[in-house]
């Protein structure tokens, strides 16, 4: 029987989404769901939720709870990662310290300063997990949902090519649905092709009813109500010719055009510090969910757009599906660097996951991705090699940070963040290097 391990199962809301999807497949009935979290209360909550969902959907799942990760991984077929290393407190540091330097962020989970530090504290965790998998479930497929997606995947396939892995995000299917709603067609009727890097993948083809749908999307942008829903992405489309995945709030911090000063922020409705609010809401929602479970409450059981259950179903039953996955660029996208992590169509079936060849992206689109692949690569190197210099360089080469701060300011900011996160970071990074401000930085308060 199929055995699926959830690592970080205490993200109860997300666990429930994936389990609902899985339990709705009759072919996956009777699966073993092996839950792991380091927080006993969250783990217990996840267990209650899993049993409730299985009962409600008649899935006959066997639910196990493990505080010990190795027990959860033992002989798993699929390992789903959904952890948040450092939780809310670490996220706050990622926002508050850069803000002192004048660097505003919206989400800070995948690129930029926030992405770099989230990457640095999460990479050691995923590598450790991969080592356990190699020993306890060497044939399992690792499905990573944790951000920063590209950095974690690059670290994984670089350090542990022997562990099968794929990075999954819902930004591609969500974006397709949003586009369908902007042009007023049912989302099932929108044909799309998408490629790039996670959160900056571009819709290279949009068709509805056998016709190019881009003219309709350009027309929709002229409607102020629709424009207001996605200003940053519409601006990017206006100037670069294509619609990008993820969302306006994420993309605002991936480019230098929208978040540099208050005038831009106001004009494009950029929600500064958005993720702090979401993170607080997540904490509240978790508490509420737990209360509801204890009171015998009920939850909606809609199928989500997540690819996880589809991949598991395809690999178990052999049904061919197109999914979008984050994988190593082995000649898949010609004008992005070899070895960087790309988001491309992937064929899922009983033989596993096979990424599809894409070819070259339009050059202006590739150019929006390559600066970030550089930052990702430097961050991965920093974590794997334990080198602090790579962290400075990663931050200095970030598009947003470099459009707001000087080199000295960035160096000082990196130092302060390293000190603040301290033991959560790989050891080598905590040692001072010859590069760095050592007193030359301007005083942050004077910025």
């Amino acid at each position: 029987m199929t055995r699926i391990a959830f690592i970080g199962a205490g993200s109860v809301e997300f666990t429930k989404h994936l389990l609902t999807d899985i339990f709705k497949f009759s072919d996956l009935r009777g699966a073993t769901i092996s839950l792991h979290d380091i927080n006993p209360e969250r783990l217990e909550t996840a267990g209650m939720m899993a049993r409730w969902t299985s009962d409600k959907l008649g899935a006959g799942a066997k639910v196990e709870e493990h505080l010990e990760r190795r027990a959860a991984l033992d002989s798993a077929d699929f390992v789903i990662i959904m952890v948040q290393i450092g939780m809310h407190e670490a996220t706050l540091l990622d926002f508050e310290i850069p803000r002192k330097y004048g660097l505003k962020q919206t989400i800070a989970d995948s690129m930029g300063i926030g992405g770099i530090f989230r990457g640095l504290r999460t990479i050691p965790f995923v590598l450790d997990l991969a080592r356990d998998m190699r020993e306890l479930c060497p044939r399992a497929l690792l499905l990573n949902y944790t951000n920063p997606m590209s950095m974690l995947m690059e670290a994984l396939y670089t350090a542990h090519p022997e562990v099968r892995s794929v990075g999954l995000c819902h930004s591609v299917p969500y974006t397709a649905r949003e586009i369908a709603s902007y042009i007023g067609v049912p989302h099932e009727e929108l044909l799309f092709e998408c490629a790039g890097i996670n959160h900056i993948a571009w819709m290279t083809r949009l068709e509805a009813g056998g016709e190019d749908a881009y003219p309709r999307l350009f027309e929709a942008m002229e409607d102020p109500k629709i424009y207001a829903r996605d200003k940053v992405r519409f601006e990017l489309m206006r100037h670069f010719g294509y619609f990008v995945t993820e969302s306006s709030e994420h993309n605002a911090e991936y480019t230098p055009y929208f978040l540099r000063d208050d005038g831009l922020i106001e004009r494009f409705d950029v929600p500064v510090d958005e993720y702090i609010r979401r993170s607080e809401r997540n904490l509240e929602r978790y508490a509420e969910t737990r209360r509801k479970l204890l009171d015998g409450g009920s939850f909606p059981l809609e199928r989500s757009v997540e690819y996880g259950s589809l991949i598991i179903h395809s690999m178990v039953t052999g049904r061919s599906r197109t999914i979008y996955g984050n994988v190593e660029n082995k000649a898949l996208i010609g004008n992005l660097p070899q070895g960087c992590c790309v988001e491309v169509p992937v064929l899922a079936d009983e033989t596993g996951l096979r990424p599809c060849y894409v070819g070259d992206l339009p050059p202006q689109l590739a150019a929006t991705c390559t600066p970030h692949t550089t930052v990702q690569n430097l961050t991965v190197r920093a974590a794997l090699e334990g080198k602090r210099e790579h962290v400075y360089h990663a931050a200095m080469l970030d598009r947003h940070a470099s459009s707001v701060l000087s080199l000295d300011q960035i160096a000082a900011l990196v130092d302060e963040l390293i000190d603040a996160h301290d033991e959560a970071l790989p050891e080598g990074i905590r040692e001072r290097s010859r590069i760095g401000p050592s007193g030359v930085a301007e005083n942050p308060s004077s910025v």
Partner: protein
């Protein structure tokens, strides 16, 4: 309502099977099927056969037949090629001339002097067709069934860059045969197959995650199994993996099996014990040519039968990928096929740009090749000996350089094992002369040289 064009529709058996598949596919039942051939008799026979299926099923599909290729191609969504330039006359020369030089080809349609010349005859037509498609059906997908698959597709990519996929049924038939050997229902086997056309290898063969290779290793020890596929089994025993194209074919892609008429008759033919493989005459030289001549006669009998409404209508689709690909593109329901596509880093240890046969995802976005992670070195090395010949053949066909033809044949593993270099030179010159009327690209050169 897609328009599906068949170029070379006079290949009656293939046309009937493919059109039957199309007409059994709900998403394609309202298609326009446009049949084209240069032979008016066979074209009208093809039309009769296809129209009969439409009529007997009471479908809305439209059937057109034309001798005018441009008319057939105009506004097509899919162009399927099944023609054989030079027909059986040219094919006979591909077998007979080399045989006089000691090159004993069983099939002679893929590699060897026969494969090289079949490519030289075919490529100019394919390139012309692609030019027509650029003008008249720019978005159409080309599905090529014409052999030699690898050289033809490589030339299409190099000369035109058109979207295309090369299709063959060797993967499907081989996997079905292997499933039978190990006694597992075909629907339950799972396989991963990759390489080059006719020399791709089953890298995985399993059921429910359980490897079936151990069972195959056991099965090949059975006499009836060995007697059916002795060459492919020998290749597996020495190289570790099972290859896709039958023993008759496989015996001529490597130098080991048919180095002389004596070796063929005394060592190779006796290995074949199974009547089921009579079609290539137990590996004898020219076996497949004789089969094609018989099949042509059969197709004429069949034509008569269906004209009299005596032939039975198939109720199930064949193994051919064609109708499944068109269905997946039309419905956006993903499927996996093994297709022949340009190697853009798909198999890292084969040359860039050569034609590889790999799993492809097909959906509303067309045919999307997938990458093969690890490909065993010894298999890549075997493929490379074939790819060398294909590369020179493509170069010869596209540049009209007769020296490249000589080099292609000189590097053919079987020919090189039996002929001296001067013998190869004479043989190639004799073939160039005998086939001149199908080789327009060399005419200038041949004239300058005063003929071979």
């Amino acid at each position: 309502m897609p328009k599906i064009t068949l170029i070379g529709a006079g290949s009656l058996v293939f046309t009937r099977n493919l059109c039957s598949d199309i007409l059994l596919t709900p998403a394609l039942q309202d298609s326009t099927i446009s049949l084209m051939d240069i032979d008016p008799t066979r074209l009208s026979q093809a039309r009769d056969l296809v129209q009969a299926i439409v009529d007997r099923r009471g479908l809305d599909a439209r059937v057109e037949a034309t001798l005018d290729r441009r008319k057939a191609v105009r506004d097509a969504d899919y162009v399927v090629t099944t023609f054989q330039q030079g027909g059986l006359d040219a094919y006979a020369l591909d077998i007979e001339i080399p045989q006089r030089y000691g090159v004993e080809q069983c099939v002679g349609d893929t590699l060897g002097p026969g494969g090289v010349f079949r490519a030289l005859r075919t490529i100019p037509i394919l390139i012309d067709l692609c030019d027509d498609m650029d003008e008249l059906a720019p978005d159409a997908l080309l599905l090529n069934y014409v052999n030699p698959m690898a050289a033809n597709c490589w030339a299409v990519d190099a000369a035109t860059g058109r979207p295309h996929v090369g299709l063959c049924h060797s993967v499907q038939f081989t996997s079905e045969m292997l499933a039978g050997w190990v006694g597992v229902p075909y629907e339950e086997v799972v396989f991963l197959c990759a390489g080059i056309n006719h020399q791709a290898f089953f890298l995985q063969f399993q059921r429910n995650g359980e490897a079936l290779y151990p069972a195959i290793w056991k099965a090949i020890e059975r006499e009836e199994v060995y007697g059916k596929e002795p060459v492919r089994i020998k290749i597996m025993k020495h190289f570790g993996y099972f290859v896709t194209e039958s023993s008759g074919h496989a015996s001529e892609y490597a130098p080991y099996f048919r180095k002389s008429a004596k070796m063929v008759d005394e060592e190779l033919v006796p290995l074949f014990k199974n009547e089921g493989d009579h079609w290539f005459d137990f590996g004898r030289t020219g076996g497949y040519l004789r089969h094609c001549i018989e099949r042509f006669e059969e197709s004429q009998e069949h034509y008569q039968e269906s004209k009299d409404d005596r032939a039975e209508l198939p109720t199930e689709r064949t193994h051919e990928y064609g109708s499944y690909i068109m269905e997946a593109v039309e419905t956006n329901e993903p499927i996996r096929v093994n297709g022949n596509v340009p190697n853009r880093g798909l198999i890292q240890n084969l040359s860039k740009g050569c034609c590889v046969e790999v799993p492809c995802l097909v959906d509303g976005n067309g045919v999307q090749p997938t990458t093969i992670g690890y490909y065993p070195t010894q298999l890549a090395a075997l493929n490379r000996t074939n790819i060398n010949v294909q590369e020179l053949t493509v170069e010869a066909a596209l540049t009209g350089d007769t020296e490249a033809v000589h080099h292609a044949v000189m590097l053919d593993p079987l020919t090189a094992a039996v002929c001296t270099l001067p013998q190869i030179r004479s043989m190639v010159e004799e073939m160039l002369e005998a086939q001149a009327r199908w080789l327009p690209q060399f005419q200038e050169k041949l004239k300058v040289m005063g003929g071979p």
